[in-house]
Every structure is written in structure tokens, then in C-alpha cells.
Amino acid sequence: MVLLAAALLAACGGAGDTGGGGSGEARTVQHAMGETEVPERPERVVVLDTGELDSAITLGVTPVGAVEAVEGLGYPSYLDEHTQGVENVGTIEEPNLERIAALEPDLILSSKLRHEAIYDELSQIAPTVFTETTGVTWKENFEVHAEALGREEEAERVVSEYEARMREFREALGEDPPEVSVVRFLPGDTRIYQKESFIGTVLEDAGLPRPEAQDVEDFAMLNVSREAIPEMGGDVIFYTVYGPEDETTLDEITSDPLWRQLEAVREGRAYRVSDDLWMLGIGYTAANGVIDDLERYILEG
């Protein structure tokens, strides 16, 4: 595919303004916004979403710039040791174009869903590669990121390691895997996650079944009321908290008698896990962290 695209481009005479930097000769990547010529092995990468950040770091590239999900909250904590010195270029919603330009990147990664409106500006700063969307398509996105970063071999290794770990996990799980429920507490909002999400695909890979209300090809039940607490039940409950804890619905739900009635809660099998890892991360490094949690709480717990 890359070869074909490169050949096409050579035939056309190689148009397009693709900033400097990088090493080696340029390649052409096909992505959600068309074709873009990128350096052989980009070194100064700016990522504009948490999934792209995870991908880059998974592939051994420390970005020069990244965005925060929420103003002032920093990067996902599970990536802490890799994000030292990564310049903050604003929030996902409004990246600061000037700061990105000042970093003189040689590749920008994001998605059409997030930043279609500023694609033109971004691609004038540096070659910009978009995936269509984020979240549930994280594995395909990773392929695109790997191609754009020129690190397909590393990517293959990451994927096969992940699959091997998952195989091991499923074997250790045995014949009767527990039903896993996933709940997220946000400020003023409670969500019950279903299958069409990052965490939904990871749990599916792990061979973990979901309770009936969550075994649905959809993203999540948003903004559920306390009446929906019974739907949060399962053999094991994993819950995460997004944002400042006392602003979220955590206390309202978990202090409710209905919550305390849930079998998993009574048996001490409701675990609070990292929101950064389970919800925000979206990538192979995050997925491996989730497997760590699953091993700890399900295999050993």
C-alpha cells in the first residue's frame, strides 16, 4: 500500500508542503483526510489526543508536544515516566496552534472526529495524519499511527505481545469466567460502559463476559439515574472516577442502599481502578495496564 502510494506520488511529481525535520526520505501515508507525505522516521511528534499519546509512547517515541484532556489535569498518570518534558500544547478541544508551530514538529497525529476543523492549519505546520475516530477503533488507529511514525516492526511486536498476554490470561481464566461490569463516575454523570468502547474491546479480548445490560453493541449508558444501579451488578465490578472525586456521582451512588445490595459489592469484589488507564488511555500501553489490573483482581483476587 505504502509502496503503491509512493509510486503514485512519484508519478505526480511530489507536490505538497511538508515541513522539515526527520531523517531519511519521505514516505506517503494514506489516512482519514487523504494522503500525506511524512518523514521516514519522524522524531518531533505532536499528539492531540490521549490515544495518540499512548500509541507514540508504546512505539518508543516521546512526543515533543501533547494535549491535556482537561485543562490543568496533566497527562494520563500511567504514562508519567514517559511524559517528562513533553510540552503542553493546550487541551484536546482547543489545541494551541502557535505553540504547536513553535515546536517545529515533523509529524502531527490526531483524529478527524477531534480536529477536522483545524486540519488545514495543522497540515501547514507539519505533515498531519488523522484517523477517522477514536476509542473503539484503537487497534486500527494504532496501525495508522505506526505507519505514520515509520515503526511498523515495533508495532507488530507490540500487537503480538498483547495477543500472547491475552491468550495466557484466557487460559488462566478457565472455564467459568466471571461477568465483569464497568462503571464510570463523572461530575454530574454516571455511565455504565458497554461493548463499543476501548475498555469493551479489551474485556472482550480477555474473554470476560459482561452482564446482560452491558452486553450490548453500544458505547455506554450515559447519565443513568440511581434506578439503574441494579444494571451495574456483575460478578466483579470495576469502577473509575473522572475528575475531582467530590464533584462526581461516586458518593451518591456508592452510598445508596441499592449499590450496597449488589452482590459484587457485598462480597468485596467491586474495585476502583485508574480512570486514566481504563478510560482515557486508549492504546496498547493502557491495555497492558488493564490486563495487569485484571490479573490482580480476577486471577489472584
Binding site: 485543562e71 478541544e93 494551541n96 505553540r99 508551530a101 477531534r114 505546520i125 477514536t134 476509542g135 450515559l222
Partner: protein, 348 residues
């Protein structure tokens, strides 16, 4: 006694007269606006001195090689969009206040913003795959539909009274807002978020594409607005007087409303709800050059452009590095002004 300048463009069968102060006021406003633009373009992550700004805009190589990109790709189109949006909103507001004879009328009060917001969010929910490039069209359509409904429903006994226009507009705004909330509940969460940010009244990351999409509307409807100035003067005296002056009142009013909605809709479609500009600018202009619309419309236009350009500058500078949407800055200035207007218009 006010003095007038009569303008007769050679070869055209029109003439109009301007208050004697109009040219001077316009010149002063233009200078302030230009200064605001230069400051705005110079301010940011990369501070650029005013002379370098001017040089870069004029295409003369200045200082750092990056200036060209920062100025010409990021900051200049943004500041021009801010200006154009301000112009459009101000003229729309001037027309609306003229038609309704109500100094408190503003495009947002007759439901233009709410209609635009509803249409944009609906588009995202109904057709999730559609490109954000179509949002402005949806917003424009929504503004137009709501404004048309407001006008039609206000129609009674051969006319749409200004009072009913405002009241029906309030009702439609409430309904559109409620429907928007429902749509948000249905929508794909990230996409809806994107639409809401875009509608929040900001010129963040607006580029040449947005500017060129907006310009045809201005090019078409600003001259029409100016041409309607005399009718506005007549309507301002009341329907009966306007009719006795030989005006076909309803037809005039309808065509002026079309101009008003086109301008306001195009502005909202480009930058979301930038509140109170359509309200403030005509008032400031009236204070400067009096109520005659030949002078009022251009002065209001320049005032509106100036307000949004300065609001954007303040919004970027005040809480740096957090960027406050310029719509909030205009609201923060506009709201107290509005109260003052309410007080002043007590003899309405």
C-alpha cells in the same frame, strides 16, 4: 441643528445624505480597529512587534522566518473573521432595532442563535458521518427557518407587530434550546462536544476558508442593508407614517428582515453566538452619529467589527494561557450595557 452632507454618486440614480460627523467618526473608528487588529495579530505565543506585523502582512520578509506562517496563516484570518462577524452582527442588530423600533432588539432575541445551534447539533446527531465543514450551512439554515417561523407566526391582521416579533422570538428560542438539549442526549458524545465548542462564540482557529465563506454574504447583504437605510428611517417613524410616506411597509419590513437574518445567520454560522454585539454596536453608533440610518449603518458596522476584534484580543490576553471565547467577553461588556439600555428605554 444637525448638518448634512449629501452624496450623489456620479452616474447612479441615487443620493443619500450623511450627518456631517459621519466621515470623521468612521475614520476614527477605522483607525482604532486597525490598531486593534495589529495588536491582536502581534499578541500571542510568539509576540510580534507592530511594525513587523505590518511588514509581514504586506509580504515583506520580517524578523523571524516563522512570522509569515504565524501571521498569515493563524492570526490574520482569525482577526479578519472577528472583524467580519462583528460587522455582520452589528448591521443585523441595527436593522432589527430599526424595524422593531425597539432599542432592545438583537438577533439573539428573535431566535437566530438558538435556531443555528439546534440545526448544527441536529446535523451532528442525524448524520454523524458528515464533515464539520457543513456545520455552518446547517447553522445558517436553522437561523433562517427559526427567524422565518417567528416572522410568520407574528403576522396578524396584515402585519407583524414589533412587539409580537420579540415575544414570539423568545418562545422559539426557548423551544429550540430545549430541543438542542434533547439532541445532545442522543448524539455521539465527542461529536456533540465539538459542535458545542464551535457554537460557544469564538473565533478560535478560524482560517481563510471560514473568511472566504463569510465574505460573499457580506458582499451581497451589506449593500442591501445600506440601500434599505431610507426605508428604515421611514419605518422608524411608525407604520402609519411610513405608509403615508408611500412605503409598502410589510414588503419593506420583510426584505429588511431577510437581510438581517442573512447577516446574523452567516455570522453565527461562522463563529457561534457572540452575544450582545448586535445590541451594543447600533447603540454606540447612534450615540456617535444620531439615528439616521445612512450614517448609522456604516458606523455601527465599524463599531461591531472593532468590538469583536478587541474582545478577541482581551479574551486571548486576559487569562493567558487559557483562552476565553470572545463571545463571553462581549457578553461581559454587553450585559451591563444592556441593563443601562433597559433603564434608558424606560419610556418605550
Amino acid at each position: 441643528m444637525r448638518r448634512w452632507i449629501v452624496v450623489r454618486p456620479p452616474g447612479l440614480p441615487v443620493s443619500f445624505r450623511l450627518g456631517a460627523r459621519v466621515p470623521a467618526v468612521l475614520l476614527a473608528l477605522t483607525l482604532v480597529t486597525l490598531a486593534g487588529m495589529v495588536l491582536n495579530v502581534g499578541y500571542g505565543e510568539y509576540p510580534i512587534s507592530p511594525p513587523d506585523v505590518v511588514r509581514t502582512v504586506l509580504g515583506i520578509e520580517a524578523g523571524d522566518g516563522n512570522y509569515g506562517f504565524i501571521v498569515n496563516t493563524l492570526r490574520l484570518p482569525r482577526v479578519l473573521v472577528a472583524f467580519a462577524v462583528g460587522v455582520a452582527l452589528a448591521v443585523a442588530g441595527a436593522i432589527l432595532q430599526g424595524i422593531t423600533r425597539n432599542p432592545l432588539a438583537a438577533p439573539e432575541i428573535v431566535g437566530v442563535n438558538a435556531g443555528a445551534g439546534l440545526a448544527a447539533v441536529t446535523l451532528i446527531v442525524a448524520l454523524p458521518a458528515v464533515s464539520v465543514a457543513y456545520l455552518p450551512f446547517a447553522a445558517f439554515g436553522g437561523a433562517l427557518v427559526v427567524a422565518t417561523l417567528v416572522y410568520l407566526i407574528s403576522w396578524k391582521g396584515g402585519g407583524a407587530s414589533p412587539i409580537r416579533l420579540i415575544l414570539v422570538g423568545i418562545g422559539f428560542a426557548a423551544m429550540a434550546t430545549a430541543l438542542t438539549t434533547i439532541m445532545i442526549t442522543f448524539g455521539e458524545i465527542y461529536a456533540v462536544q465539538q459542535a458545542l465548542v464551535w457554537l460557544s462564540g469564538s473565533v478560535y482557529a478560524r482560517g481563510w476558508a471560514e473568511l472566504f465563506a463569510l465574505l460573499p454574504w457580506l458582499a451581497l447583504f451589506l449593500p442591501l442593508a445600506f440601500a434599505g437605510a431610507r426605508q428604515l428611517n421611514a419605518l422608524n417613524l411608525g407604520d402609519d407614517v411610513a405608509r403615508s410616506l408611500g412605503g409598502r411597509v410589510e414588503l419593506q419590513r420583510l426584505s429588511l428582515i431577510v437581510v438581517c437574518v442573512a447577516l446574523a445567520g452567516a455570522a453565527v454560522a461562522t463563529a457561534g453566538a457572540i452575544g450582545f454585539v448586535g445590541l451594543m454596536a447600533p447603540h454606540i453608533a447612534r450615540r456617535l452619529v444620531g439615528p439616521s440610518h445612512e450614517g448609522l449603518i456604516p458606523v455601527a458596522a465599524m463599531t461591531g467589527g472593532m468590538l469583536v476584534v478587541l474582545a478577541d484580543l482581551v479574551g486571548r490576553a486576559a487569562f493567558s494561557p487559557i483562552e476565553i471565547p470572545c463571545g463571553l467577553i462581549t457578553s461581559a461588556i454587553g450585559a451591563p450595557y444592556f441593563l443601562y439600555l433597559l433603564y434608558r428605554s424606560r419610556n418605550l
